[in-house]
């Protein structure tokens, strides 16, 4: 599955690196480095990272939190589809 991080938005909270260390890693103090292609066995961890990112900076195929794919989760509940403000 393909993924991208909006690094303007990313605040380096490292939640993703904690939940999916095989995809995301911190490089230096606050730069995030990631592999834009996740494999089958990584999907569950990726989904968790997408959901846990405090600023919703991670988009994966069909896993854009702004589309409400996690409609049941407290974290994104009520987040409508907004246009990106690029941060």
């Amino acid at each position: 599955m393909r993924l991208v991080v909006d690094l303007n938005k990313c605040q380096g909270y490292a939640q993703c690196a904690f939940l999916a260390p095989d995809i995301f890693a911190m490089h230096g103090e606050e730069s995030l480095i990631y592999d834009p292609l996740a494999h089958e066995e990584q999907l569950e961890r990726l989904e968790r990272a997408v959901a846990a990112c405090p600023v919703q900076a991670i988009t994966a195929d069909g896993l854009d939190p702004r589309d409400g794919f996690l409609a049941g989760s407290d974290f994104v509940a009520g987040t409508g589809r907004e246009s990106s403000d690029g941060r």
């Binding site: 599955m1 393909r2 993924l3 991208v4 909006d6 690094l7 303007n8 990313c10 605040q11 380096g12 890693a25 490089h27 230096g28 103090e29 606050e30 730069s31 480095i33 990631y34 592999d35 834009p36 292609l37 988009t59 994966a60 195929d61 069909g62 896993l63 854009d64 589309d67 589809r81 246009s83 990106s84 403000d85 690029g86 941060r87």
Partner: protein, 463 residues
């Protein structure tokens, strides 16, 4: 009548997008998300589905991602007809037709141009063609460069210390290669962030073992008898032996295919109104041709209505989305593209981020942290206002400064800030290179003048 047209367009109109990359893809997704049910054609001269470029000079060179696996995720099925590996070669805005390199034509009711920029090649063609000389813009460039670096290259020469060049230097140093960087200006990143920050970037490179040569230009690339690059000649008459040369001299806007089309398109890109509609060459706005991303330049109210060309990832996303929205909505529902310029870079382990338009500024203040610790926030001022900010390893503060820019907060910054050091109490000259001198590396180009500026100074592009 007009409303009927929009209804019809949304139901069964034909939209073509030229340039199948970041701006084009995000526009296509927005069209579908907002209910466009007509036919959509994505035309791209690269043979790949949209992929992401920023990792090419970072994760990919560091070996954390594969150069041919940076495809962009697709938020939804865009149900498009993909014409990949085919370039658009011409545009007839009267007949509303795009000509393709394979002889085909695509008719449209509305067109989005998102052809971006390409790397400025080394000007001497024979030297540029030497084996081991690279630029870095596309996936193919990255695959070639990675292969060469992986095949035992020990010495790398980077021409130009803008963001991309500095990132390449950083990654190669991490692999333990010998790296030389040549820069015409007095330090890295000065076109984008000015000389004060450039000096910090310079220390960073030197400390990390880069052989940085400033105030020099490369005069020639020398090949061996087998056509492989072996040395670089500099304007100070020094010669540096190398295995690989990465030419990082900024970019050229992909507008050549629009020559003669009647659009206001040229070396500075395609001028649009605030709603992403392209101007024709008479300065009259078109209603069915839109532009977004690196190829576009548009007026920004926060920055004196200057036309900004932004080679920024976030701009391509936001402008693609706004253009798409405006393409299929009634005139009264259109939105202006008022995105706050922002970008990031990561080099030598430091997270560099910026908002606003630094090259517009004449002064800078370090409001938090310190330059020598390389953890700081700096704000840029122009005519008594904050117009931009930069952080090194201090990203959490950037949003605060963004609000200040949006509110037109005064400069110099008089209020106390957390972790303010004595060195940050006074503004100093931001030290941008004279915009009329040839340089490269800025990722923002100001062009056009501000009606609010009584001096009416024309600011030429920082190419």
């Amino acid at each position: 009548m007009a409303a009927d047209y929009v209804d019809w367009l949304r139901r069964e109109g034909r939209i073509a997008i030229v340039g199948a990359s970041l701006a084009g893809l995000r526009a296509a997704e927005t069209l579908r998300a907002e209910g466009f049910a007509g036919s959509l054609t994505m035309i791209g001269d690269e043979p790949y589905e949209p992929y992401d470029r920023p990792p090419l000079s970072k994760a990919v060179l560091l070996g954390k991602a594969s150069p041919d696996h940076t495809d962009l995720p697709q938020r939804r099925d865009i149900d498009a007809k993909w014409r990949l590996g085919v370039a658009a070669t011409g545009l007839d805005i009267t007949a509303k037709r795009v000509r393709l390199s394979d002889g085909d034509e695509v008719e449209y009711d509305r067109l989005l141009i998102a052809t971006g920029v390409r790397a400025r090649p080394w000007p001497n063609e024979a030297e540029a063609g030497l084996d081991g000389v690279f630029v870095l813009r596309t996936r193919d460039d990255a695959v070639g460069l990675c292969r060469r670096l992986g095949a035992g290259a020990r010495r790398v020469f980077v021409v130009g210390a803008g963001f991309a060049g500095s990132e390449v230097a950083s990654a190669c140093r991490e692999h333990g290669m010998e790296v030389t960087v040549a820069e015409r200006a007095g330090g890295p990143l000065v076109g984008a962030l000015g000389g004060v920050i450039g000096a910090v970037a310079m220390d960073l490179q030197l400390e990390n073992g880069v052989d940085l040569r400033t105030h020099v230009t490369v005069t020639a690339l020398e090949g061996d008898s087998g056509g492989k690059v072996r040395a670089v000649h500099l304007s100070d008459e020094s010669v540096v032996e190398t295995d690989v040369v990465v030419v990082s001299l900024g970019s050229i806007r992909n507008t050549d295919w629009l020559a003669g089309s009647g659009l206001g398109a040229g070396p500075r890109g395609i001028a649009t109104d605030a709603g992403c509609r392209a101007f024709d060459f008479r300065g009259i706005v078109t209603d069915d041709v839109f532009a977004a991303g690196d190829v576009a330049r548009s007026p920004h109210p926060l920055f004196g209505y200057q036309f900004l060309s932004l080679e920024h990832w976030g701009n391509a996303v936001a402008q693609g989305e706004t253009a798409a929205h405006n393409m299929i909505c009634p005139a009264t529902d259109r939105r202006p593209h008022m995105w706050m310029p922002a970008f990031w870079s990561s080099q030598f382990g430091v997270n560099i981020k910026s908002v606003g338009v630094p090259p517009m500024a004449d002064e800078i203040m370090i409001t938090q942290g310190s330059l020598t610790e390389r953890r700081f926030a700096g704000v840029y001022g122009y005519k008594g206002r904050i117009v931009a900010a930069v952080t090194f390893n201090n990203a959490k503060w950037l949003e605060y400064y963004q609000r200040q820019i949006e509110q037109g907060a005064p400069f110099p910054v008089g209020y106390p800030t957390m972790d303010r050091r004595p060195e940050g109490r006074q503004p100093m000259p931001a030290d941008f290179p004279d915009p009329s001198l040839p340089t490269h590396g800025p990722t923002v180009t100001l062009s056009g003048y501000s009606p609010a500026d009584r001096r009416m100074v024309f600011t030429p592009a920082h190419h």
